[in-house]
């Protein structure tokens, strides 16, 4: 048996000029993410339809709900356009809702096929009458129904009741590629999620200072990257060994500037990687005023080594909101694991709060970090987090051992 999903694309509908390209992107994304499963994806104006074997339906729904560019996903019944068939499907749909305890409903019909014999209202009434006759305990409530029975009459008729929300936004890649500065904290994974929903394909960079920081800290960031990758559809991560850069900064005479210098060095390294991977932007999780170093003056200084635009999607978001987003995207529990990823030994006792831009820029130049930063980037380790790795983080597995590549749901 096969399950049939009706997929409602997001903002694509608004982008008249690029509509075709965006639609193609979303189709590609769905195909890539469901690779290894048997499914059919059909595209009609304003809707995609996915049909997949029942055993894989739970995973397919999970994947679709994490795919930017999708507004919502509904399990639907597909029929021919005879009124009888539609009414029969409506009863079938209502039965599932009644079984799970619903007491009231309403029917909404959309009719893009204007040659259909009944108008929208007429079709809704016909379906509602039949449902009420079959389930006399149900009542109609047009304001706050327990469920809405949707009938869409297009090239065929589609009947569904509940729609699972998607991430909305734009398909990943439709705005090009960005480089995410990822740490083990709460903010940067959320920033990645937000930019993925704005259509950026993301790679990420992580700076580690082994042995000052532990391998557990690095593993934690990899897990975070895998969780962000559920939204981005897989992700490359560049693990940059930054110990020597940090040591070179620490050897400088101005301890109070260490944190700022480190941020500038990271931005310079990120710019090198971003150029290498043809990224159009750099993404950080900074939020104005959240910590002493996240001031406008400090951000100006920190971003000065980069020529690409620096996107800071959390800039105007407070910590509570960020935490709630982190919980929503499933990164919070990992972010709060106690492995620190920047060594306190290097943190100045009295960091600079109001930097003198010109003076500190000159100090950064005087440290002559260019070569040591370049070497660190050359020694960066590229880790590929496949979409299947992301699925594993959430307890799903596309089993490559099976020749037919069937799906094994190991449960969440």
């Amino acid at each position: 048996m096969r399950t049939f999903f009706l997929i409602k694309p997001g903002e694509i509908e608004l982008k008249l000029g690029n509509k075709h390209e965006f639609t193609q992107r979303l189709k590609d994304q769905i195909h890539r993410r469901l690779k290894g499963l048997h499914f059919d994806l059909e595209e009609y104006p304003g809707r995609f339809f996915l049909s997949i074997e029942d055993k894989d339906s739970k995973l397919a729904l999970f994947v679709l709900q994490h795919c930017p560019g999708i507004n919502g996903v509904a399990r639907a019944i597909k029929t021919d356009k005879r009124v009888d068939s539609i009414v029969q499907a409506a009863i079938e749909c209502a039965e599932a809702e009644v079984t799970s305890g619903a007491g009231s409903f309403k029917v909404e019909t959309r009719r893009s096929d204007k040659s259909f014999p009944l108008d929208s209202y007429g079709m809704s009434v016909a379906a509602a009458d039949a449902v009420l006759e079959r389930f006399p305990a149900l009542s109609v409530d047009v304001h706050t129904p327990d469920f809405v029975l949707m009938i869409e009459i297009r090239e065929r008729a589609y009947i569904y009741s509940s729609t699972a929300p998607g991430p909305r936004g734009l398909p990943v890649g439709s705005q090009g590629k960005g480089l995410l500065l990822l740490s083990g904290g709460i903010d940067s994974p959320v920033a990645g999620y937000m930019m993925a929903r704005r259509g950026l394909a993301l790679e990420s960079v992580y700076f580690h200072t082994y042995p000052y920081t532990s391998l557990e800290a690095q593993r934690k960031v990899e897990r975070l990257a895998a969780r962000v990758a559920i939204w981005t559809g897989g992700m490359h991560m560049w693990a940059v060994p930054f110990t020597e850069v940090q040591q070179a900064i620490a050897r400088g005479p101005r301890e109070e500037a260490n944190t700022l210098m480190l941020r500038m060095a990271m931005m310079q390294a990120s710019e090198l990687i971003a150029r290498h991977i043809h990224s159009r932007a750099i993404v950080t999780g900074e939020s104005l005023g959240q910590v002493a170093s996240q001031t406008a003056e400090n951000m100006r200084l920190a971003q000065s080594p980069a020529s690409l635009p620096v996107f800071r999607p959390l800039i105007g978001i407070d910590k509570e909101e960020t935490i709630s987003l982190a919980r929503h995207i499933g990164t919070y529990d990992i972010s709060i694991l106690p492995y620190e990823d920047c060594c306190v030994l290097f943190s100045p006792k009295h960091p600079i709060l109001k930097p003198d831009f010109g003076e500190l820029l000159a100090y950064f130049e005087s440290l002559e970090l260019g070569n040591v930063i370049k070497t660190s980037v050359e020694n960066a380790e590229e880790k590929v987090l496949h979409f299947t790795d992301a699925l594993k983080e959430y307890g799903y597995q596309i089993d490559p051992g099976n020749h037919e590549q069937t799906l094994m749901d190991v449960g969440v």
Partner: protein, 392 residues
């Protein structure tokens, strides 16, 4: 490169011969020692012979030995017995215990849990050298005091506690103020194999030991008791009703044999450990900036020679542990440094008044009978090199 294992206080490499030779008889005596058939009786006989032999190997002729699942569990039994004394409606008579602040977490954490349930606790800090003053213990005794617990040898500094003096002062003071002498428990887990145990029963009411610290298997410990106590955990009545659970005959057999072996070689092991200690202390003195915590000389009678803490100021203990580990040298920070608390030092060293920046940068070395002078040299060489390279 050869692995260098300098973490004997954490655990020891098991003695393969003893483990193998203990397995065979435990396979033969497979029945439950509590069963009343002949097979059960055979198992019971083997168990009781081992108990007697183990006590003999420890040099102890009085009291009884109860087998447990670990040293921690052996520590818990006298502590949890306090639960019988808790009378929630009568807070004036809440039981009172005296405990040092340098105890292993098996004691420290359990006492804190009991404290939450209403037990009153007097904590005693050691002096700056890591030793608990017997007078301080005596000064805190009061009529409600039912338990005193002080460890035999500290697992981070190697400091030997003056158990005999503490036991004597408890006895004298209790007599002086006309109270019943409180129970005196000694966590002797780090003492076994390093110091003779035979005199401990003269001044303590109970002590805990563990097999895996002396090359035995994990999962077997023992509690010596001067007299039975009313244990809190109950069940099938095994081990005199003090530690329920079907007995681990394999563990008991192996425990017996490793203790017999270690008791015979106690003097040799000590000579070996003193030689390694001298080499280590002398070597550390040549590493610029490094220091012993607390400061001590070779052959200092206040410490076992096989456990020693060394600070590398300006470099976090867990960082040097990690970097040494990459070079196949195993040492430890003594206890995991909670990394989400900024510059958090360590409980035992803090209790001694060691400043946070020193305790944060301290590692613990512990040696054993298989440790070689070359192991110490390798540690010294790499520690010096890493300290120079990584110090901030």
């Amino acid at each position: 490169m050869k692995d260098v294992y300098l973490d004997w206080a954490a655990t020891t490499p098991a003695d393969p011969e003893i483990l193998r030779s203990s397995l065979e008889p435990s396979l033969e005596a497979y029945a439950n020692p509590s069963s009343n058939h002949w097979l059960g009786r055979q198992a019971k006989q083997s168990l009781e012979e081992s108990r007697t032999s183990l006590m003999r190997a420890l040099g102890i002729s009085k009291g009884s030995l109860v087998f447990t699942g670990s040293g921690s569990e052996a520590d818990h039994i006298p502590l949890l017995a306090l639960l019988h004394r808790l009378k929630p409606l009568d807070i004036r008579r809440a039981p009172h215990v005296i405990v040092s602040t340098i105890e292993h977490s098996a004691i420290d954490c359990q006492i804190r849990a009991l404290q939450k349930l209403g037990v009153e606790v007097s904590w005693i800090n050691p002096d700056s050298q890591g030793h608990v003053d017997p007078d301080q213990v005596a000064a805190r005794l009061r009529k409600e005091t039912v338990l005193v617990t002080v460890m035999g040898v500290n697992n981070e500094t190697g400091a030997i506690q003056n158990i005999s003096a503490i036991g004597q002062r408890i006895k004298d003071t209790a007599q002086g103020i006309g109270m019943k002498k409180p129970w005196f428990h000694v966590d002797a887990v780090q003492m076994l194999g390093k110091l003779a145990m035979r005199e401990v029963p003269d001044y303590a009411d109970s002590f805990a030991i563990s097999a895996h610290k002396v090359r035995g298997p994990r999962g077997i410990g023992a509690l010596w008791l001067s007299r039975p106590l009313e244990a809190f955990a109950c069940g099938g009545g095994q081990e005199g009703g003090i530690r329920p659970g079907t007995e681990n005959l394999f563990g008991v057999l192996a425990f017996r044999h490793v203790v017999e072996k270690v008791s015979e070689s106690l003097e040799n092991h000590n000579v070996h450990a003193l030689m390694l200690e001298s080499r280590l202390i002398e070597g550390v003195s040549r590493i610029k900036g490094a220091l012993l915590v607390p400061q001590r000389r070779p052959r200092d009678a206040g410490y076992v020679p096989s456990i020693i803490s060394i600070a590398f100021p300006g470099l976090g203990g867990e960082i040097i542990v990690r970097a040494l580990s990459d070079r196949k040298i195993a040492v430890s920070t003594g206890s995991a440094c909670s990394s989400n608390r900024r510059r958090q030092g360590r409980r035992v060293l803090q209790a001694m008044g060691v400043p946070d920046d020193i305790s944060f940068s301290t590692i613990r070395l512990s040696t054993g009978p298989l440790t070689t002078p070359e192991d110490i040299d390798a540690f010294l060489e790499h520690a010096e090199d890493l300290y120079r390279k990584l110090k901030t």
